[in-house]
Each structure stands twice: as C-alpha cells, then as structure tokens.
Symmetry: C2
Subunit: 409 residues, 2 copies
C-alpha cells in the first residue's frame, strides 16, 4: 500500500478548500484502528434539531447493512437532532446478521452518547467487503467524540472517511437567497469501484438553509443524477454508495423554490463528483466524454458511459494515443441507435472523424497534442437527434492494476 500514499497528479491545486462553517453542524473524528494504523477512521457529525435529511443510495442488489438502515430512516419526518457516524476500513457489507447487529450497536451507542433518537442516527461504512465490522472500536470512542465536537472539524472529517483516496475531498458555496446568505459545504470519498448508479462513494453535504425534507429530497435526487451519477472510474458499483444532504435551517433563510440554492447544492455535488474522478485509482488524466446528437438522452448516456468505461478507450487515453477507432467501437457496442455514416468525433477541438470516416485534413499530431494534456475531452456527435449527455472519467493505467491486484494485502 506504500504506493497509495502518493497524491493523485490530478488533485486540485491548493489542497483542501476553505469551507464555510455551517451553523448547526459539528464534527469529531477518532483513530480506532479498524484497519488503518496511524490515521483517523471514524467521524461523527452532529446535526441540530429540525435538520432535514435527504439522501440517495446505491442501487446494488447486494446493498450493505448500513445502506439498508439509512434507506429505512431517510424521509421519516422528525424535529429531533440527527447524527451521522462513518467509519473507513471496513464496509460492513455481506456480513449477514452480524452486519445488521453492528449497525444496531453503533446507532444505539451513538444515540446514547448524543441524546439523539436512534431513528435519526445514520451510519456508513466503507472499506473491505465481507469482514465483520469490529464495531466495539467505534462504540468505545463515541463518548469522546461527542466531547470533541467542533463546528470547524469538516476537513478532519473528510480525512477520516478516506480509503484508497489520495486526497481529502471538500467543496463549498455561499449563495444569496432573498438578500440573505446561505452556505453549503460537502465532503466525499471515493477512488475505485466508481460507477453509477450511483458513483461508488460516500458524500455528506451540509447547509444552513431552511427547507423541509420533502422539498429537499427531489432537489438532491435531481442534482445527484447530474453529478454523482455522471462519473465512472472503473464501471464497478459499490454495495455502500451513500449521499446524505443535511439542511439544518440554522441560517433561518427559507430556500423553497430558490434556484440559486438548488444551483449551489448541485455545484457542490458536481465539484465533489469531479474530485472523485480526479482521485480515480491510478488516474493520470481527467477525461470529459461529451455526446450530442443522440436519438434520446438515455441513448446519449449509454454511448457516453460505453466510451468512458471501455478498457480499450481508457488505455488509449493513458497512452496519449488518439485511437479514435476505439471510440467508434465503443459507440457500436453501446447498443444505442447509431449510424456509422453520421458519426463525428473530436479530441479536444480537433475534428478527427466525420460522416463515417477520417476528417479531411485531420493531422494526428494535433489530436496527440491535446491528449498529452492532463484534461482531455472526447466528443461524439451521433448526428441523429437532440439527446446529449456528459460524463467524467479517468484513464486506465498500470497503477490501477498495481493498486487493485493487492488492495487487501
């Protein structure tokens, strides 16, 4: 794992951002040695009474116990406070009855330590699948965590939830609604096993906006569809994907129907989603795949993901090889409606192919120059209709293999 300590070359310059403090939220973290030594691996977020909580979860058929527990609790109206407990190092997934018992033990202990009802304690676990969660290490630290709760602890929280991530991920926005300021700040983790639905990851977004759960949930669902559900690292979908969005209302500013708030929320989620791609295991390039001219939006999405998930396209990107034939292949295999003779392809601004064959005047060196950069775009126009979609991915390098061929060792 020594190799994992080096930070992704695509990490945002300037490190973890300076996030606005969100009134009504406090954080604490602890190092409990669930798997990792010498780093924090548990985070507690405490949310003020009246906080609305919305969320989206993996659609995997083998969802982990904490996900099933969160799904059950989300949307239950309550004026009580809330808590989020997250551990890294162990996913508590495919752990049978023991896994359910671990969730129960953690939520019960967190309720006891915080005074928050158990139905308002949400947990996530991320890391190795199939090993029993040593939940005693988490429950033993909860009283200390409550003592240490800190409104400015979000950066530490972002670190505590990392697994193979090479940098902590945070994003924030401050926006005006009816002349008053509202703040949004979020953290996320994710690096491999990243694909919709939804991107494999944990993400927690906090805002001091005032909004009811039933108004917040559709905003979150829609924004998730355009952000976390538009990224892929390796086409693998986790058992534990969780996004929770908590609106404490502590600013006193109502945001019902505010487009500015909806945009700020979506921007924070988009920022976090892109950071996950930028930390894709072994990634050396951030790749934007844009598809236009599809017969439908769902077709556009199918084509975009077929390109973004193709090992042959991803290795060509790693090799800085403008091998557009592989893009044609991926369009063909997507199953979406396509007419070979209407297809056009660009790498960056360079028109590579159009109307079914190589573009007149195409010079491979121009495309290769674009591909030698750190941010690469692949654009396909299908020439059929108005369907469009953009997804984000990274290249596939031998470092991905090195990281994943012995993740557990």
């Amino acid at each position: 794992m020594a190799d994992d300590l080096s930070v992704s070359p695509l990490a945002p310059a300037g490190g973890f951002p300076d996030l606005p403090a969100i009134a009504g939220v406090r954080f604490a973290t602890a190092a409990t040695c669930i798997k990792y030594e010498g780093r924090s691996d548990v985070m507690l977020a405490e949310l003020a009474p009246g906080t609305a909580i919305a969320g989206t979860f993996t659609r995997s058929r083998t969802r982990a116990a904490p996900v099933l527990d969160c799904e059950k609790k989300i949307g239950m109206p309550s004026e009580a406070g809330a808590a989020i407990v997250v551990n890294s190092g162990n996913a508590n997934a495919f752990t049978g009855e023991a896994g359910v018992a671990s969730v129960k033990a953690v939520t019960k202990a967190a309720a006891g330590a915080t005074g928050i009802p158990e139905t308002r304690v949400f947990t996530s676990s991320t890391g190795v699948i199939g090993e029993p969660l040593p939940h005693d290490r988490i429950t033993a630290t909860l009283a200390t965590l409550v003592d240490e709760l800190d409104a400015h602890g979000i950066a530490d929280a972002a670190r505590a939830i990392m697994t193979t991530d090479t940098f902590p991920k945070g994003a924030g926005r401050t926006v005006e609604v009816d002349g008053s300021r509202v703040r949004v700040a979020g953290i996320a983790k994710g690096s491999g096993m990243i694909a919709p639905d939804m991107a494999t990851m944990l993400a927690y977004v906090f805002t001091d906006a005032r909004i009811s759960q039933d108004r917040l949930q559709p905003l979150v669902t829609a924004a998730c569809d355009e952000t976390f559900n538009r990224i892929t690292v390796d086409s693998d979908t986790s058992t534990s994907d969780t996004l929770l969005v908590a609106a404490t209302g502590a600013s006193g500013v109502g945001v019902d129907g505010s487009e500015a708030f909806a945009a700020a929320l979506a921007e924070v989620m988009d920022d976090l989603a892109r950071q996950i791609v930028r930390d894709g295991e072994g990634a050396s390039k951030f790749v934007t795949v844009g598809v236009t001219g599809a017969a439908s939006e769902s077709d556009a999405r199918r084509v975009a993901f077929a390109i973004a998930n193709s090992p042959l396209v991803k290795t060509a990107l790693a090799g800085e090889d403008p091998n557009w034939g592989r893009v044609v292949m991926a369009v063909g295999k997507s199953g979406a409606e396509a007419d070979r003779d209407r297809l056009s392809i660009r790498f960056g601004d360079v028109l590579v192919a159009r109307d079914g064959s190589v573009a007149p005047g195409y010079v491979e060196a121009d495309a290769a120059r674009h591909m030698s950069g750190e941010d690469v775009s692949v654009s396909v126009d299908l020439g059929l209709g108005a369907g469009a979609a953009t997804v984000y991915t990274c290249d596939l390098t031998s470092r991905y293999i090195a990281i994943n061929a012995d993740y557990r060792s």
Copy 2:
C-alpha cells in the same frame, strides 16, 4: 510491440494441433505488408462447388464494411464454389465509402482470380480501425494465391489472420455419422476487444459434411451462443466479429439431424473460443465463472458477465487475492435478481461465503492456493432458481495496459 512476441503463458501445450484435412477446402497465404512486416497477412480459402456457408456476425452498431457485405451474402443459396479472403493489420472499419469500395475491389479481384461468382466471395479484415485499407496489396497477390492453394494450408492460414494474438488457434474433430467419417476443422483469431455479442474475433470452421445452408445456420447460431458468445476478455466488442462455417459436402455424408455432427461442430467452436481467452491480452490466468441458482438463464448470464467483466474482480484474480467481496459487488451491480442472504461463493472447491456472510470454517489460505494456479474458477450460487450459465475470461494485468496503451505506435 516487442513485448507482444512472447507467447501467452496460457497457450495450449504442444502448439498448433494436427488438424484433419477437409476435402473441398484449399488455403493459401501471402505477406503483403498491409501493416505487419515479415509475416503473412492475407489468407485465401477456396471452397468447392456446393459448399453451404453459414455465419454469425457482430451486433455492433458500427459494423465494418466487410461484415455488412458478408451479412448480405450469407444465406443466398448457390451451387457455385465460394472463397474467403481475410487480411490482418487493417480492419477496414469506419472507412466510409472508401471502405465499401475496398470490399468491392477485393471481392471482384478474388472472383476474377478464382472464377467464383462475386456473391460467393466473403471477406474479413482485422486490425486498426479507421485507416483506409490498402486493398491494392491484396488484389495484387490474388493470382499468386490461387496458384499456391493447398489442401494442407490451414495452419498457415491461422497464422496469417493473427493481430495481437500470441499463438495461432486451431481445433478439429473427426466424428462418425451413420458409419461414415466426417471431419471438422477451424481456425480463429482474437486477443483483445473480446466480448459478446459476439466475442471479438474472426473464426472460420470447415467441414466435409453434407448439409444445406438452411440446416447449417441454426446449428451454427446455437453453437455460437454457447461458445463464442460466452467469452470475454475486456468487455469491448469489435466492429468486425465474424464466424463463417463452410460445409463442402465432399465427404458425401449427410449430417441432417445428426447430434454427433452438431456436437463436433460445437466442440470445435468451444475449443477455439477458449483459445481466444487463453490468448487474452496480458492474461496470466484462465478463469471459469459459473453461476447457478439464478431466477432465469438470462439472469445467470448477466451475473456471470458482470463478474467476468469487473475490473476489480479481474485485478484481484491477477493478484491471486481471494477477494470475494468484489464478487458480491459484481453480483449486486449486474442488475439480476439477487438476495444477499442466499448467495454462496466458491473459489475452486473452496466454499468462501454462504447465506450472506463468510462460510463457517473458511480459511483464506485454501482459496489463495486455488487462485495461485493457472486455471481458476469462481462459482456463485444465487439460491433462487434453476438459471445457470458459464462464461470464460482471463485476469486483468498490467501487461494488458502495456499492450493497449500503445497498440498503434
């Protein structure tokens, strides 16, 4: 490309098999420097009058010009002879009108050189996509090829059609039908861009059996579904997949309704399909993924391919890591009906997990021992119904990246 010269560690011991000669078929090959230097890259197969020809083709929406031409011709009844012309090094795919003209030029020249009607000349091209096929090199060599036709040329033909393949692939069977002998011999190429439908590959199977085209086609379709459509290397589907099966009838033995013949045909196709996996780019392990207990056969297939195509499962296989959590993940993402708490997983004979958690008495070293071998099996029982499927794949190694990050350079 120097690395590509080393033969896959999974190549069959003993080299190219000793195949039965098929009466009514003759082969010739030539080196025309379409892309490769110092090796043959064109093969001609000449088939006697009365030969029935069946085939299956890629379902890609961006099918190459030769595929579209073959599809048009297959199934047209004819008593004339037939010819198959195959080149490696250039796929003549996504080449627009020029690609169609190249097919026309080759089929016309082959018809002229062999005296076979153009509607009975089938061509395939395999190699780089998107570059114009220098078809003059092929047409210029056809007269010589006809002069050199040889009933024993099948091994050379297998070599001429290789691209990134590290060994030529051949398989044969001799079977008794009504007391008389019938022979089946086939060749194939394929190494990367291998996934159904159908496996990315070219395959040509010849038999001296007597059978009409309309009886042969359903046999071929059914056998293809159980063989070439059950393998995957990298989930990528080519624009050029072609399987042609030619029955010359020269043995005089009718095989209508013969189960022995159908079985021999399927066995040859299965043998070739497995060899393609054994030559998977960078492969170090041959992996059998078996799924049982699914709610339906199509569900079983979805789960099997989700496992076989998962980069995280494939890298774990490369790392000889019995990381069964990734198998659970793949089951979950497949979309097939699954109940986490009924799932069981085996690596080889080692029961790893059952009823939703790790199996009692499971010792990781036992599973690791199985995975250290060259032939690895991953078996999943979903515990729901009678649906079953088996697919073959290989592991994902850094050599796959090395081969594909600069295939064109």
